[in-house]
Amino acid sequence: MKNTSAVAVRKGVLTAIILIFLQLINMTAALGAMLEKMITSAKSVKSVSPLFYGVIVALVAFFIAFSFIRSLYRPGKPKPTPLYCLGESLVIGLVSGVLIAALNALISTLNANGVKIRTYLDMMAPDAIKTAAFGREIPVMIGIYLALTIAGALLGGLIAWIIKSTGQPANAWAALQRAIAENHTIRFIRRNKIVRILVIIAILIFVFALPFILSPYGISILGLVLIYAVLGLGLNLIVGLSGQLVFGFVAFYAIGAYTFALLTAPKPLGLEFSFPIAFLVALAISGLSGVIVGLPIMNLRGDYLAIVTLGFAEIIRSLVNSNLLADFTGGPQGIKDIGQPRQPGFIESLIGKPMPENIYFLYVIMIFFAVTLYIVYRLQYSRVGRSWEAMREDETVAQACGVATSYYKVLAVIIGAVIAGAAGALYASRNTYIGPGDFVFMVSVNSLAVIVVGGMGSIPGALIGAFIIKGVPELLRDLENYRMVVFGVLLIAMMIIRPEGLLPIRRKKIYAEPDKDLEILKKELKP
C-alpha cells in the first residue's frame, strides 16, 4: 500500500501541473465562462464568476482522482477499502491544492508589487490574476483552492468507488443492450427493408431541405465542413487505403485553388473562364501535379514520404508567396474576385425568383460531395481498392500476389490529387478570394486529422472527422484560441486509446473453422 501512496502524490503533482498549465494559458477562465454561458444561458460572459472558475478547478481534481481510484481495481489485487480510497483522494487533493495555491500566491504577490507579468506570460493580465485569486486576499485564496481541490478529489474517489464496487452503470447498460437485442419489435424494424428505405428517403429529404433551414452562419460552416470532407475523402484514398503517408496534401489543394482562381479571376491573367471549364482545367492540372509528385516519390515509404511531400507543399507555398511569381499569382496579396457558378435558368422558373447565392453554392458543394462519395465508394470496393488495401497491409505480399504496387501507388496519389484539386477549386470559388495564407501546413494537418479522427480508410469516418475538426471548433467559438492545444492533446490521446478512429472500417473477417470446414468438404467430396 505504501507504493500506491507514492503514486497518489505523483497524481497530485500531475493535477497541479494541469491546473497550472490551464491557468497560464487562461483556459480555466475560458472553460468556466463556457460553463456559465451554458447554465445561466447568458448571451455573453465578459469575466467568469468565481463560482464557475472554482467548479472547473474542482473538476480537474475530480477526474484525476476518479481515474486513479478506478485504476486501483485490478484483477488479482485486493479490493481497496472505501476509507483507503478516500485517503488516497485526499492526498491528491491536498498536494494539488498546495501547489496551485502556492503558484497563485506567488503571482498575486508579484502583481501587487508592480511586476508586469504580462510581458512574459501573455495571458496573465491583472484581471486574469484577480479572477484566479477569486478576488480575495492571499490566505483566503489558499483556503479556497485547498477546499476546491480536496472536495473535487474526494468526490471523484467516492464516485469511482461506488461505480467500481456496485458495477452499476456498466451492468445496467449491458442489460439495456441485451433487452434491445432480444426485443422482437425492434428487431423487426431493424431488419425490415421498407423501414430502411423510408429512413433513407427521410434522410435525403432532410439533407435536401437543410440549406433552407440553416442560418447563413450555419450554411457557411456546413460548406466548409463538406469541403474538408471532400479533402478527407481524397486523402483517405492515399493514406487510409493505399497506406502512403502524405503530409503535404495542401499542395494539391493549393494547385487546384490557384488554377481555378487564375482562370476565372479578372486580375492577374484576365481569362475569366466560366465555372465548369475552369473547374475541369483545375482538376486536370492538379492531377498532373499528382503525376509529377507521385513518380519520384513512389519508392519511398512511411516517414520519408511524409517529409518529402511536406517539403513539396512548402515549396509550393514559398513559390506562391514569393516576388518571383508575383505577377502571375498575385504574390502575398492573393487573388480577388474569383468566379462563381451561374445558376441555371430552370431554378428561377421553378421557384419564381433566383435562389440566394449562398444556398445555391451549398447545393453545388453537396453535389460535388455526393459525386466524390460515389467515386470513392466504388473505388474502394473495386479491384483497385482491394489492391490498395493489400499494398497497405503488406507490400511484399501484395507484389507476390501480382499487384503492380508502383502503378497503384502513383494512381492513388493522382486520384487523391484530383479530389483535393476539386476541393481547392470549390474553396476558391466559395470564398472568391485566396492568398498564400489559405494554404499553410495546418491545412495538411487538418485534413490528416479528419481521417485519423474518423477512422483510416472509412468513408463515413471522413464526414464525421470533418465535422469534428472543422464544425465543432466553429460551434465552440469561446474556446477558439485553445482549439489547437486541445487538438494536439486529442491526437496523442487518440493514438494511444483508439488508434483506429471513431468510425473504423469494418472488415469482413474470414476464419477457417477446421472441424466445420472439414465436414463440409467431406460431404462435398462424397461421390
Binding site: D122, L295, E314
Partner: protein, 367 residues
C-alpha cells in the same frame, strides 16, 4: 515490363542491376543546369568574391545549428525508427529558456550594475545550462508521454501522428503562454549582436560577428563531444547497439526503453543548445522558431544518411552553406532559400535515398 521504369529499387534475383532511367535523367538534368549557371557566373560575374565569402560565413553559422538539430533526428531515428516531428519545438523551448534566463539576469541588479554586465561569461553559461536542461526534460517527457505507449501500436502511422500532435501542442501552448509577438534576445555585452571584426578585402569588407564565431565554435565542440561520447562511453555503445539491431541488443541485456529515453535526452540537449544559439545569433524569435529549422535539419539528416551521426553533421553544414550560397548561385530571389533546401531533400531522395555518406546502404536500407 514497362513498370520497371517506375520501379528502380527492386532487387532482381538474377543480380542484374537495372538501369534506373528516372534517376539518370533527373541527375543529368540537375548537373547540366548547375554547369550552365556556373558558366554564366564566370563569364558575367554579378557578385564579387567578398559576397561569396560572406554567404559562406552565414552558411557555416546556420549550418552548425542545423547540424546540432540534425544529430537529434538521426539519433532518435536510429534508436526508435521514428521521425521526432516535435524536435524543432523542443529547440524552441530551449530558445525560450535561454531568453528568460537572460531577462532574469538583466533584471537582477547588483549595485548600480546588473548581473549580466558583471558576469557575462557566467550568464551565457547559465543560459545554455537552462536551455539545454529545459529541452532535455521536455525531450524525456515527450518520449514518455507521446511515444512510449505507441511502441507496439498496431497502427503503423500512430507514432508519427502522435508526434505531429505533440508538435502542435507544444507550439500552441507556447504561443498562448508567452504570446505570439516576436521577442528579442538580450545578449550580454560580451556577445553583443552585430559587433565583430571587419576584414578588409580587395573590393569590400566582410563582417565576422562575435555571435557567429561563438555559435560555430560551440557547435563544433558539442559535435566533437557527442562523437566521442557515442564512441567511447557505455551509453554510447548501447545506443549504437540498439540502432543496429534492437532485438539482439535486448538479448545482450540492454534496456532498450531506457536507451530510448536517454537518446531523447541527448538529442534534447543538442536541440536546446541550438535554440539558445539561434536566439543569441538571430535575436528575433517567437513560438514558431522551431518549425523551419526542424524540417531543414531533418533534410540535413536525410542528406547525410539517416542514422549516421557524422553524416548528419556534414549534412547540416552542407545544407547551411548551400542554402545561403544557392540563391546567388542560381540567380534567384533570396526569399526562395527554403525552396532550395526542400528541393535538395527531394533530389537526394530521388538520386541517393540512402544519403550521401552512407557506407553500407545495401544492408541498412531505411527507406
Amino acid at each position: 515490363m514497362t513498370l520497371n521504369f517506375f520501379n528502380p529499387n527492386k532487387k532482381k534475383s538474377s543480380g542484374v542491376r537495372r538501369i534506373n532511367w528516372l534517376r539518370i535523367i533527373v541527375g543529368l538534368g540537375a548537373l547540366a543546369f548547375l554547369i550552365y549557371r556556373a558558366i554564366i557566373l564566370i563569364t558575367r560575374p554579378t557578385y564579387g568574391s567578398v559576397f561569396w565569402l560572406s554567404f559562406l560565413n552565414t552558411g557555416l553559422i546556420v549550418g552548425g545549428m542545423y547540424a546540432l538539430i540534425a544529430i537529434g533526428y538521426t539519433l532518435v531515428y536510429g534508436v526508435m525508427s521514428l521521425i521526432n516531428f516535435a524536435h524543432g519545438d523542443i529547440m524552441m523551448l530551449g530558445c525560450f529558456a535561454g531568453f528568460f534566463t537572460f531577462e532574469a539576469f538583466d533584471a537582477w541588479k547588483i549595485g548600480d550594475s546588473n548581473f549580466m554586465n558583471m558576469y557575462p561569461g557566467l550568464a551565457i553559461f547559465l543560459a545554455f545550462l537552462a536551455g539545454t536542461g529545459v529541452s532535455m526534460i521536455s525531450g524525456y517527457y515527450l518520449e514518455k508521454i507521446a511515444y512510449r505507449p505507441l511502441r507496439n501500436s498496431p497502427v503503423r502511422l500512430a507514432p508519427l501522428i502522435s508526434a505531429v500532435g505533440a508538435s502542435i501542442f507544444i507550439e500552441t501552448a507556447a504561443q498562448l503562454m508567452f504570446g505570439a509577438t516576436k521577442k528579442t534576445y538580450k545578449n550580454p555585452p560580451l556577445l553583443a549582436r552585430g559587433s565583430g571584426w571587419n576584414i578588409e578585402m580587395g573590393d569590400g569588407m566582410i563582417v565576422i560577428t562575435k555571435t557567429g564565431v561563438f555559435s560555430l565554435i560551440l557547435a563544433l565542440i558539442l559535435m566533437i563531444g557527442l562523437y566521442i561520447f557515442v564512441r567511447k562511453t557505455k551509453l554510447g555503445k548501447s545506443i549504437r547497439a540498439v540502432s543496429q539491431d534492437k532485438n539482439t541488443a535486448q538479448l545482450m541485456g540492454i534496456n532498450t526503453d531506457r536507451v530510448a529515453s536517454q537518446t531523447f535526452m541527448i538529442s534534447g540537449v543538442l536541440a536546446g543548445a541550438a535554440g539558445v544559439m539561434w536566439g543569441i545569433h538571430n535575436g528575433l524569435f517567437n513560438h514558431y522558431v522551431g518549425f523551419l529549422p526542424g524540417i531543414k535539419a531533418f533534410t540535413a539528416a536525410v542528406l547525410g544518411g539517416i542514422g549516421n551521426i557524422p553524416g548528419a553533421m556534414a549534412g547540416g553544414m552542407i545544407l547551411g552553406i548551400v542554402e545561403s550560397v544557392g540563391p546567388a548561385f542560381l540567380g534567384i530571389d533570396f526569399q526562395l532559400k527554403d525552396v532550395i533546401a526542400f528541393s535538395i531533400l527531394i533530389f537526394v531522395l530521388i538520386l541517393k535515398p540512402s544519403g550521401l555518406f552512407s557506407k553500407n546502404a545495401s544492408t541498412q536500407e531505411k527507406v
